[in-house]
């Protein structure tokens, strides 16, 4: 009897912890639900405006569609037509040349600018702010201004004249049009990457440099043996971000050269717009989208690996 009572008292005293545990679980679940609720609008938005369109593009790329009559299944017809088209192949090559050239130069020049700012010279901060303005100027203004600057009688040729360079038809010669577009890109993006490099440089531990200086290492040796290795993750990050930015470039070639001369500066995003909205070949345009998407997927995969490692993220 007494054993029974102890058992019941035990059982009676047992519920509180169970109940509290249940309440705690409930509380935790409620918090989790809040977390999900915070992310939900973004997820729904991306479902409608990112994943949906992408799946539609893949589907559309196997069809012929002009927005008037119903889509017609053509299998791989669009892709076969694309890769048989010399203009598409030239555009694809242009896109790669543009990505490679711009990324290489913006990274190198961005790093050099950051090193110049980081020399501890007073007033360097204001120089940085001034240079960063090129990144804030509306891209449309950038394109209009540079179209005039690169005119045969424009400012660029005027400034090159004292150096003994004869007049260059930057935008109308097929050998200089792409370098000209890359030059404008570098002017636009290098100061932005300068800021990212600068943040990384400021975060480097100072004692490495003090130790190296005590050992008598010069500035150049310090750069190659300390700064550069420590900066490798940032350099990799900048290269990937720059490649992603350059892969989707549209306005610069569209406004500065119109894709010309011939097709010398035509890039994939321009071809998507023209094929879809000038020629109303929506299926074909979707196929080009899938090609561009594939290129960007490679860079994004690299980007995701970086994000999962690094602490800092910039726009």
């Amino acid at each position: 009897m007494s054993e029974l009572t102890t058992a019941t008292t035990y059982q009676l005293s047992a519920p509180p912890p169970v109940a509290r545990k249940f309440w705690q679980l409930h509380h935790r679940q409620r918090i989790r639900l809040w977390g999900f609720a915070f992310v939900l609008p973004t997820l729904l938005f991306f479902a409608v405006f990112k994943y949906g369109p992408m799946m539609w593009a893949i589907d559309l790329s196997f069809n012929s569609y002009d927005m008037v009559s119903a889509p017609q299944f053509v299998g791989l017809g669009n892709y076969r037509a694309l890769f048989g088209d010399p203009i598409f192949r030239e555009t694809l090559v242009n896109t790669f040349v543009y990505i490679a050239g711009s990324t290489l130069l913006t990274t190198v020049i961005g790093l050099m600018l950051a090193l110049a700012i980081n020399t501890g010279i007073p007033g360097a901060r204001h120089c940085m702010t001034a240079m960063f303005l090129t990144n804030l100027m509306p891209i449309i203004a950038v394109c209009l201004v540079w179209r005039f600057l690169l005119h045969p009688y424009g400012l660029v040729n005027q400034m090159l004249q004292p150096l003994g360079v004869s007049r260059i038809d930057w935008l109308t010669s097929s050998s200089t049009a792409m370098p000209a577009i890359i030059m404008v890109t570098v002017w636009r993006f290098a100061p932005y990457f300068m800021v990212i490099f600068l943040a990384a440089l400021l975060a480097l531990p100072e004692d490495y440099y003090e130790a190296a200086e005590l050992d008598g290492a010069g500035a150049i040796r310090r750069f190659f043996h300390i700064t550069l290795p420590l900066l490798m993750p940032t350099i990799f990050f900048v290269v990937v971000v720059s490649a992603l930015l350059c892969a989707r470039i549209f306005l610069m070639p569209y406004l500065i050269t119109g894709g010309g001369p011939g097709n010398a500066t035509r890039v994939l995003s321009m071809l998507i717009y023209e094929t879809g909205f000038s020629y109303l070949k929506m299926g074909q345009a979707a196929a080009i989208s899938v090609v561009l998407f594939t290129i960007m997927m490679v860079f994004t995969a690299l980007q995701i690996r970086l994000f999962s490692r690094s602490e800092q993220v910039y726009m």
């Binding site: 639900l33 809040w34 405006f49 369109p53 997927m297």
Partner: protein, 290 residues
């Protein structure tokens, strides 16, 4: 004599070493300023040309200081095309996109940084993967979707696909990750609701990141050309980039007036940067810079 010399010698060398870096700093600063000016030349050129006489733009030698300042280029340009309407349209679009990004990226960034719910890792991956789906890639189907919503030639049609950007979500997530979770737990114990925690604890601590987000999302939508070009076909809804390009294509419009509009278009972004500059510098982690 000799004692005097030896007494003075160390002092002299010290002052020499003190002056040499100063000289080097001076030269360095000069070079830096030259570099900054080199980068600013196109912006200066644009500004000067917006006050120049129409024909001076194609002079063989650039006239950096106008002989006559043609301030009338500005009112003339505005009167030739409905630029006031274009700028209002751009303003509506950019401010909406900026607010959308600030609100939704903060919410999502907080959700991803401080909550573990089933599938949160997958959600992170899903959001990151949209980096490979910019509007340039999904242009055709996005147009078809907006067409289905019957949003062609509407403000919501221009704004909708730009409203949230994955970069913003990640910027906010990384910024919120550095806020100690203890603060949040303490507030919960004190009985604060989740929204109150977000507004009163999280937001005040990530103002630098929010400033960076605000300025970049404003710039990117203010810059947007391809999407309005695709989705807008009536004059009343054109944003200023479309108007400016059309202005340049129409015969007889002086290029100097085009520059005037370009200057006006540059001002809002520079102004926003000026207001947020200190905070933006901290957002980038540049507060240690001299």
């Amino acid at each position: 004599m000799t004692t005097l010399d030896t007494a003075r010698a160390p002092h002299a060398t010290r002052s020499l070493t003190r002056h040499l870096p100063a000289l080097r700093k001076g030269i360095g600063l000069l070079l830096l300023v030259a570099l900054a000016i080199a980068f600013l030349i196109p912006i200066l050129w644009m500004t000067v040309m917006s006050f120049q006489e129409g024909g001076k733009m194609f002079n063989l030698r650039t006239e950096w200081i106008p002989k006559v300042w043609h301030f009338e280029n500005y009112p003339n340009a505005i009167s030739r095309a409905p630029f006031v309407q274009y700028f209002i349209n751009s303003g509506i679009v950019s401010l909406t996109v900026m607010i959308g990004n600030v609100v939704f990226c903060t919410l999502a960034g907080y959700g991803l940084a401080k909550f573990r719910f089933p599938g949160s890792g997958l959600v992170l991956l899903l959001i990151l993967s949209t980096l490979m789906l910019p509007l340039e890639v999904t242009l055709v189907p996005t147009f078809l979707i907006v067409h289905k919503f019957e949003w062609i030639n509407t403000y919501q049609g221009i704004v909708a696909p730009l409203l949230i950007d994955a970069f913003g979500v990640f910027l906010m997530r990384q910024s919120i990750l550095s806020i100690p979770t203890d603060y949040i737990e303490a507030a919960r114990i004190d009985g604060a609701g989740e929204l109150r925690i977000l507004l009163q604890i999280i937001v005040p601590q990530c103002l630098p990141a929010l400033s960076v987000l605000a300025i970049f999302s404003f710039r990117d939508s203010w810059d947007q050309f391809l999407w309005p070009l695709t989705v807008v076909s009536i004059d009343a809804l054109r944003t200023y980039p479309l108007g400016l390009v059309q202005f340049g294509e129409e015969y007889g419009n002086p290029a100097t007036e085009q520059m005037a509009i370009a200057v006006l278009a540059t001002l809002p972004v520079f102004l926003l940067f000026l207001i947020l500059q200190r905070s933006v510098n901290r957002g980038f982690g540049l507060s240690g810079l001299k």
